[in-house]
């Protein structure tokens, strides 16, 4: 059975497409995140639809068919040696390197198997076709669509590659010039695109059909389509949000190496000041406040470790930004 894409009846002119990151997401996962986005939309959610793009079924095809352990090994080794060249003030750089390498290992399929990356890209393009069809069924032509895309982690890589392909292949009719569809927002959360690019450059000799990987064969840039006298970016607004403790987003204990952080000209960059732990449910570590609270409650502060890569936390921290972008006044 081919991978299913979501089809939702439109109730207005606005839609949000969510693209998840690494993991083993199944249809129905991310329901909580959809709820978060609907809360961000507020009253406008009644006239908005929220899609979620699932692509792990496609990844599973390749995982089941192929055993790429040997290739994974060289990929991870390259990642570790790359990290070893960075002077980081961390107590256990080997452990950090391993954890990052294991995480980045999830990108092995799209990097080392051209069919794998093209299959995911084709499926994402199919999802976009379906969204345009859903809008058309509701009488909303592409030029009136207010479609925003929010991607997290590895989803950012697939989104970046897909948008660049749409910009280049005008016969798809999905861009602002080729199809009259200009995305309202493209929001990358914890994007590993630059990180993956750096790793791919290290193992370039192993990467097949490099020219088909836009994030490797060309400088990172916001995709644009041009007509005779006008050029238009695929999205009116592009934002990249990451945390300064999120290694997938290109930050290593608050360091921001150029080889890891995605920094495209024209993007709206937001770097969250993250903490390793929350005290009493808050990331704001004000010692005075902590002591006051402890004295008042006569109990020790509750310290809980944070996941700097959590998608829902990114959304929570940026509810106001998202509201401004997704539902402009």
């Amino acid at each position: 059975m081919p991978p299913r894409v979501q089809s939702i009846p439109w109730t207005g002119t606005r839609a949000v497409l969510l693209i998840h990151g690494v993991g083993n997401a199944k249809v129905g996962d991310y329901v909580d995140l959809v709820g978060q986005i609907e809360r961000v939309l507020g009253p406008a959610s009644a006239e908005s639809v929220v899609y979620t793009f699932y692509y792990d079924q496609v990844n599973d095809w390749f995982a089941d068919k192929q055993q790429a352990g040997l290739l994974v090994g060289s990929f991870l080794q390259s990642m570790r040696s790359l990290l070893a060249t960075v002077q980081l003030d961390v107590s256990d750089p080997v452990s950090l390197g391993n954890s990052i390498a294991d995480l980045v290992g999830d990108v092995v399929w799209p990097v080392l198997l051209a069919d794998a990356r093209n299959a995911v890209k084709s499926t994402l393009i199919e999802q976009l076709f379906q969204i345009v069809e859903d809008a058309g069924t509701a009488g909303v032509p592409p030029r009136q669509m207010e479609l925003s895309v929010v991607a997290h982690s590895m989803g950012c890589f697939h989104l970046y590659e897909t948008l660049q392909t749409i910009a280049e292949d005008t016969s798809l009719g999905l861009g602002p010039v080729s199809g009259g569809l200009q995305l309202a927002n493209v929001i990358y959360m914890a994007s590993p695109v630059q990180l993956i690019r750096s790793v791919m450059e290290r193992i370039a000799v192993l990467v097949p059909q490099k020219e088909s990987i836009r994030s490797l064969s060309k400088p990172l840039a916001i995709p644009v389509q041009s007509s005779v006298e006008e050029s238009r970016p695929l999205a009116r607004h592009t934002a990249a949000i990451t945390g300064n403790l999120d290694p997938v987003g290109g930050h290593f204990f608050r360091a921001e190496p150029a080889w890891a952080f995605m920094n495209m000209a024209g993007q709206d960059t937001i770097i969250d000041q993250q903490q390793l732990a929350s005290v009493n449910g808050s990331e704001a570590l004000d010692l005075t406040e902590v002591l006051h609270t402890a004295l008042r409650d006569r109990s020790a502060p509750v310290i809980t470790p944070n996941n700097p890569h959590s998608w829902s936390e990114y959304v929570r921290r940026h509810e106001a930004d998202l509201r401004t972008w997704l539902v402009p006044a």
Binding site: Q67, A119, F129
Partner: protein, 332 residues
């Protein structure tokens, strides 16, 4: 002497004025040639006319003269190539990468004349037309404050061309996904470790490369060892032995419609793949033996779906039949 300044019309008046212009222009078009009532009946000529009128309404010749010049040139080229009567759905199919024939052939069929327009140039021309309509024409209309509803009505034939382009692209994209599924999906042949390595390396070789618009290559390398083979001896004793066989060859996936269907019989009549290559047996007709090295026997094989048949020569020659199934997954 009192000078009276010509008053600039208010925003609402400008909208009414533009709407009236659109209405008049559209009416004129209606009079000249009735627009197609159904999207399937919209022709390239209809789309061109709607763009021409929209460009006039938006005063594009003043605001974006270069775009107007290119638009006029494209109109002239399409008209002289006598392609204006070709339905946009047919036009759209030719815009997809690797499309063959197309409007050039259609135009020849319609006009019984040699058309000089080259298909490649035609493709670029129509895509450029799409671009001008979606950007320069649209910007011109908006700068004249033409209401959205009027734009939608005015550009309906042009929008039909863009929608047809998207529909053709979607069909092509779905076809690519179906091919990926046939080659890699749950019903596809599994690869052993050696085959994984060989097919990884094959990605660098022309013929085995994936294409972004068309999906995977239909080719896949085989280097397998199977313990579920049966050798039918040619000798007078007419015995059969369970043997282990090695195979080195090429698998070809059938991506055409109707192939790779499920069903007890259809999967054998029109399977998802076939293959051919060389088959080897060890020196003895025994199972779980090496199929190479000293004393091995070699012969051709052909596979149809999961079934294969081969023939080995030598002193102990005979027909070998078997299946692609593994006893131990991914190994043999």
């Amino acid at each position: 002497m009192t000078r009276t300044r010509a008053r600039r019309p208010s925003a609402s008046n400008r909208i009414r004025l533009s709407a009236a212009v659109v209405s008049i222009a559209w009416s004129a078009t209606l009079g000249a040639q009735p627009p197609a009532s159904r999207v399937e009946e919209v022709t390239l000529g209809d789309a061109m006319r709607s763009l021409t009128i929209a460009a006039q309404v938006g005063k594009m010749n003043v605001k974006r003269p270069l775009a107007q010049h290119v638009l006029d040139s494209l109109m002239g080229a399409f008209a002289s190539a006598r392609l204006t009567s070709v339905p946009v759905e047919q036009i759209a199919r030719t815009l997809q990468p690797n499309a063959k024939g197309g409007p050039l052939v259609t135009a020849r069929a319609i006009n019984r004349e040699q058309v000089e327009t080259r298909t490649g140039a035609f493709r670029e021309g129509v895509l450029r037309l799409n671009g001008i309509g979606n950007t320069e024409v649209m910007s011109s209309l908006r700068s004249e404050a033409v209401p959205g509803d009027s734009i939608t009505k005015l550009l309906a034939p042009f929008d039909a061309l863009v929608a047809a382009t998207r529909a053709a692209a979607r069909a092509r994209n779905r076809d690519a996904i179906a091919r990926f599924e046939r080659k890699y999906g749950p019903d596809s042949p599994r690869l052993n470790y050696l085959e994984v390595g060989l097919n990884y390396a094959a990605q660098f070789v022309p013929g085995f490369k994936s294409t972004e618009s068309g999906g995977p290559s239909p080719l896949e390398l085989i280097a397998s060892y199977s313990s579920l083979s049966m050798k039918l001896n040619d000798s007078s004793s007419a015995t059969a032995n369970l043997v282990s066989a090695g195979r080195l060859g090429l698998r070809v996936y059938f991506f055409g419609d109707g192939w790779g269907q499920d069903g007890r019989f259809m999967r054998y009549l029109k399977p998802a793949h076939g293959s051919l290559g060389l088959l080897s047996l060890g020196p003895q007709d025994d199972p779980l033996q090496r199929a190479w090295g000293r004393g091995y026997r070699l012969g051709p094989f052909v596979a149809w779906g999961d079934l294969f048949a081969g023939y080995v020569g030598g002193s102990n020659h005979g027909l070998v039949v078997g299946t692609n199934k593994f006893i131990i997954p991914r190994v043999f």
